[in-house]
Each structure stands twice: as C-alpha cells, then as structure tokens.
C-alpha cells in the first residue's frame, strides 16, 4: 500500500467503492454509473493527471480474480490516475459488458484522456458516451472491426494499402 494509507479511508466518498490491492497498487472498481463521479472525487483529492487509459478484453479469461461483489464482464476500462504531490498512483477498473460496450467519457474531468479514449474505441470498440471526437485514431477511417479484441484474429486481414490494386 502506498504511504499514507488507503485512499478509501482518507476520502469518505470512496467508501462505497470496492477496492483491491494489485501487486502493491491501489485499485478501485467503480461501476459505470459511479465511474465519472469517482474520477471527479479523486481529481479534487489531488490526482491532477490521468496518466493512462486503456481497455482490456477478458474474453479468454473471464474467471479472473476480482473482489467480492464485482461481476466479471468481458471488457474493462482501466484508468491510471497520478497525483504529482504527493507522488502517488491509483487505478480504476470499470467493467463494461459485451452486449453494451459503452462507457461514459472522462474527457470533461481529465481532458488528457481525449486521445486515449479514441484509441480505446478504435482498437477495442468501446464507445465513450459524450466524447467530443468519437472517430478512429490509429486505424484507417473505413476499417471494419476492432483489432485488439481477442476474437479478432492475427493475420486475418492481409496488409492493406489504400487504393492499391488487389491481389491478382
């Protein structure tokens, strides 16, 4: 645990959020409804920067270890927040179900998540509700599918160059 004790003890508003210790890092498991509010509370508590946001597809590993009360879903949005003073990190893991891969955007709390959410949408197909620029970012605009999903095969699509004539 980071110096200063658990955040859940320090910030009463986080008392309801399920938490766990992952290899020494403090992890919170807010639901999609709690997610933006928890991030806002943490930002007010000094976590000024969102250092990373990515999505994970647990299709092949649904039975992962989770604290009691967190129902496993196929997707997770993982957010790493950073406090500059004191230097400290905290991680949020949000369950996102397969049938409704939508997550509220964090853009209005942390504007630095803009590109990261676009990347998560592009590569994992998780839509960020309210994101100002919900376009693909790395893949071509007309690409079909989301390559980082576990059911998106490697080598399934031949190397493509736009406008190049197809194979003979």
């Amino acid at each position: 645990m980071a110096p200063g004790g658990s955040l859940a003890w320090q910030i009463p508003a986080l008392g309801q959020i399920l938490t766990a210790d992952s290899a020494g890092d403090e992890v919170f498991f807010p639901t999609r409804a709690q997610y933006v509010e928890v991030a806002t509370v943490l930002r007010e508590a000094g976590f000024a920067t969102c250092s990373d946001l990515c999505a994970v597809d647990y299709l092949t590993h649904l039975g992962r270890k989770l604290p009691d009360g967190v129902a496993p879903e196929r997707f997770e949005v993982v957010v790493n927040l950073l406090s500059l003073a004191p230097a400290r990190r905290v991680r949020l893991r949000v369950m996102v179900p397969e049938h409704d891969p939508v997550c509220p955007t964090l853009f209005f709390v942390y504007p630095g998540t803009e590109n990261m959410e676009r990347e998560a949408y592009d590569l994992m197909g998780i839509r960020f509700d309210g994101h100002p620029d919900p376009s693909r970012i790395l893949m071509p605009q007309d690409w079909e599918g989301h390559p980082l999903r576990r059911d998106y095969g490697v080598g399934r699509v031949p190397v493509q160059f736009k406008g190049a004539p197809g194979p003979r």
Binding site: D52, R91, G112, V154
Partner: protein, 464 residues
C-alpha cells in the same frame, strides 16, 4: 455532426465534398481521405471539438477543465484556409500529419492526424511470449529502445516478483542514461535542422553515433537491442567498458559547449524559439503531458526523482525545470538533462557493483552457456525458457519509467500463460501530441515547425 460509431459507416468527408467539381481530384483525395479524423470546416465542427482544436482548454480554470462556450466560433469568417502538412513532410519527424486552419499566417486551430505508422505492436505483444516480448517493444520508440525494454521488463518482473541482482540494475541504469544522452542529442540535432542549422544536425548525429557505437559493442546492435530482458540484461558489459563510457561522457560533455556556442546564444535561434509555443503548466498537467514538455513549464516532475525505480535514489542528479515554458526552455531543459545524465553516468562508473548480470532463477533466465554442455538439467531449462517461456502468475500491473520523452508506462495483464493477455504501452509521444493544438494556438505557421519539434514526437511511439 456525424458520428462514425456504427461499424462500417464512414464519417463525412468534408474535403472530398468541397472538390466534387473535379472528379479526378476528388478521386485522388478520396484515396487518402481519413473522414472525420481530419480537420473539418469550422461550421461543421461541434463546439467542444472546436475548443480542443483551438487549444481551448488552456483558457479555463483548472477546476473546470473545458468550457465549450470558450470556443470562438466566429473567428476569421471567410478568409481562412485549411492547410494540410504531412504525413510526408521533413519537419514532422516521421509520418505525422498536421491539419491547420490559417488566417493569413496565424494558426486558428489545428489537429494532428496520426496512425500512418500503426503496426499493431500491442496486438503482436499478446502473441509473443514474455521472453520474446522485449524484441517487440524495443521497436516502438526507436530513439530510446532501451527504455521500452526496461519498462516491459520491469512490468514482467513485478508480475513475477523476482529480484534483480544489483549489477543488472546498475547496468540497466547506465544503458538507459546513455540512451537518454543519445536521444536528447538526436533531438537537438533535428531541432537544429528544423530551425535551419545544418551544422547542429551534423553535431548531434556525430555525438549520437558515439553512444550507438558503444551500444553496438555491448548489445550487438545499434538500435532495437533486446538487451534489457525480464530477469536482468542479456550479457555482461564487455571488458574495458569503463574506458569507452568515460570517453563518451568526456567527449559529449565537452561538445555540449559547442552546442551552446552554436545555438544557445545565437540571435536567430533565440528569436525563433523564445516566447513560441507557451502553455501554462496547469493546462499541461490536465492534458497529461509529461517529460521535458512539462518540466519546461516549471513543474519539477521526473519519475526518476518522484517515484524512483532501478537505483535512481542512490545517485545524485538535479531535475531540470524551465520557467517560461516556451520552445527555448524545452531546448534548454533537454540540453541540461544531457549534462545531468553525464553526471549520473560518472557516478555509475564509480559505483558499479560486481556480481551477476541477471537473476539466477531457472524459471526466468536461461542458464550460463557453459552449464548447458555439462548439465542435462541446464539444457532442459534452456529449452523450456526458449520454447515455453516464462509463466507469471495471474494479475495486472502498471509500471512507468521516465523516458526521454516523458512517462513511458506498461500495463500488463497476465492470465497465467506464457504470453501476456494484454500488453498496453502508455506512449509519451502519443499523449504529449494532445498538447500541440494548445501550443500552436495563435502562433504563426512558420513557428509550427519549431513547436512540433520541441514536443519531440517519435512517430513509432505515437502509433505503435
């Protein structure tokens, strides 16, 4: 506004629409069109998006990160032009494409369009074993490959819970600091070239080559080393490495004076960089910017100091910060970071411990070559490591190091098998690129080159 959230539905193509008068031109444009990833005309852009492209986040208080009403939708009615720069453009440091809206020479808004170097390395990382993983990540940020290997190895080691012998830690630190020197002098070279100093380019490449030659001697390769691996490093330092390293730091240290003489006091260079691309620190923090970009704005945030990894709390160095946060400060911060890295390297030369250069854990590192000839078990371990690989316990970790460009993070999810279930790299260039619209706002088109250069995006790192 169109939304292209539904798969298969392509976003609007504003540029193509404007060119329908000429079918041949429209056909050519359609071939390279990126739809809604591009900069659309102002009247077809939502207010929030407009605010981002204008760097609007910079003008609101920290507590209210973005106020869409702050966006100025009335600017430059009629007399503006959307200019496309890149992806094939020498000053974009690779295949970065910038779209800027200009009024005369003034930049009203801008948007980086990326993805031209996307090679799916995160996907590839899920297919490779942990032993092979370092060969993949080292190709991401090709100017600081050793930091990529380091962050991946640290993440795997955190999953495994193995301890690394002190010598391996110090060798890693030595190589990473030398890599920081080579990356920063390479940046100084390309920044000089962008601002029309060809001499600086030759100087920088010359000094970088000294470091690369040493890397070649140690790792066998000048780039993409696969030297730092889970469990330690690939090989011990060669005999006489102290003399080589001393020669490098002496030479580079002395030649930094040449850089100062050439650029630091030069009126043309100062005119082009001072007061250009200024953004307040709280905005950069909100935009998740890290590295020299953030430090130049006066925030003393360096992971080596704030969250020490390797043995950085055993060496003495200063965190360099700027005051004005302009292009010149970013130059000065990098130049002085080279000096600090030289200082660290000199301390490593004195303090380098002896011992193993990798952990002696049969499940993680291969046995010494000589043991394979005499021991059946060693042969089996060797075989198992290179066929089956390492199998860390289930879990997820996030590890970050200070690369020359900022916070380089690795989020690794293990399902207990021999390859990662998810490997995500938090690329500093990718994240720092978000600050570019804010840095460019209100500037001149000629300064765009200086600003882009000062952010130091490495496109391999941006697109991965």
């Amino acid at each position: 506004m169109t939304s292209d959230h539904v798969d298969g539905v392509i976003g609007d193509a504003p540029v193509t629409a404007a060119l329908t008068g000429d079918p041949e031109l429209a056909r050519l444009v359609a071939k390279t069109d990126e739809g809604s990833q591009e900069l659309a005309p102002a009247d077809a852009t939502s207010r929030v998006k407009l605010a981002i492209e204008q760097g609007g986040v910079l003008r609101v208080p920290e507590s209210n990160a973005l106020d869409p009403d702050a966006a100025d939708a009335t600017f430059g009615a009629g007399e503006t032009m959307i200019l496309n720069v890149g992806p094939q453009h020498p000053s974009t440091h690779g295949v970065l494409r910038m779209m800027v809206e200009l009024q005369g020479e003034t930049i009203l808004r801008s948007k980086p369009v990326i993805g031209y170097l996307h090679t799916g390395m995160e996907k590839m990382g899920e297919e490779l074993t942990y032993v092979q993983g370092a060969t993949n990540v080292t190709r991401m940020d090709y100017l600081s490959p050793l930091h990529n290997e380091l962050v991946f190895s640290l993440a795997v080691e955190k999953l495994l819970g193995v301890d690394i012998p002190p010598r391996a830690t110090w060798i890693r630190m030595l190589m990473c600091e030398l890599n920081r020197i080579s990356s920063h002098v390479m940046w100084t070279a390309s920044n000089g070239l962008d601002l029309a100093s060809t001499t600086m380019m030759i100087f920088g490449l010359r000094e970088r080559d000294l470091v690369l030659t040493f890397f070649e001697k140690v790792t066998g390769l000048r780039m993409n080393h696969n030297y730092i691996r889970p469990g330690g490093v690939a090989a011990d330092l060669p005999d006489g490495w102290e003399d080589d390293v001393e020669a490098i730091v002496d030479t580079v240290g002395a030649r930094l004076t040449d850089y100062d003489n050439l650029l630091t006091g030069q009126p043309i260079f100062r005119e082009r960089t001072e007061g250009v691309g200024v953004v307040p620190a709280d905005l950069l923090i909100a935009l998740s910017a890290t590295g020299p970009l953030l430090r130049a704005a006066g925030v003393a945030w360096d992971l080596r100091r704030a969250m020490p990894y390797l043995a950085y709390d055993d060496v003495d160095f200063d965190v360099i910060v700027g005051s004005a946060g302009d292009c010149f400060d970013r130059y000065a911060v990098r130049l002085n970071e080279v000096r600090e890295s030289i200082r660290i390297v000199r301390q490593i030369l004195e303090k380098m411990p002896s011992g193993d250069y990798r952990a002696q854990d049969k499940k993680v590192t291969p046995p010494p070559r000589a043991r394979i000839d005499e021991s059946m078990e060693a042969l089996i371990h060797h075989f198992k490591i290179f066929t089956r690989g390492i199998e860390p316990p289930e879990g997820e970790v996030y590890v970050a190091v200070e690369s020359p460009r900022g916070e380089l993070g690795c989020y690794l999810v293990s399902d207990g098998s021999n390859h990662p279930m998810r490997m995500h790299i938090r690329a500093p260039s990718f994240v720092n690129l978000q600050s570019v619209p804010a840095l460019l706002r209100g500037g001149l088109i000629a300064d765009m080159v200086a600003v882009l250069s000062s952010v130091d995006p490495v496109l391999g790192d941006v697109d991965r």
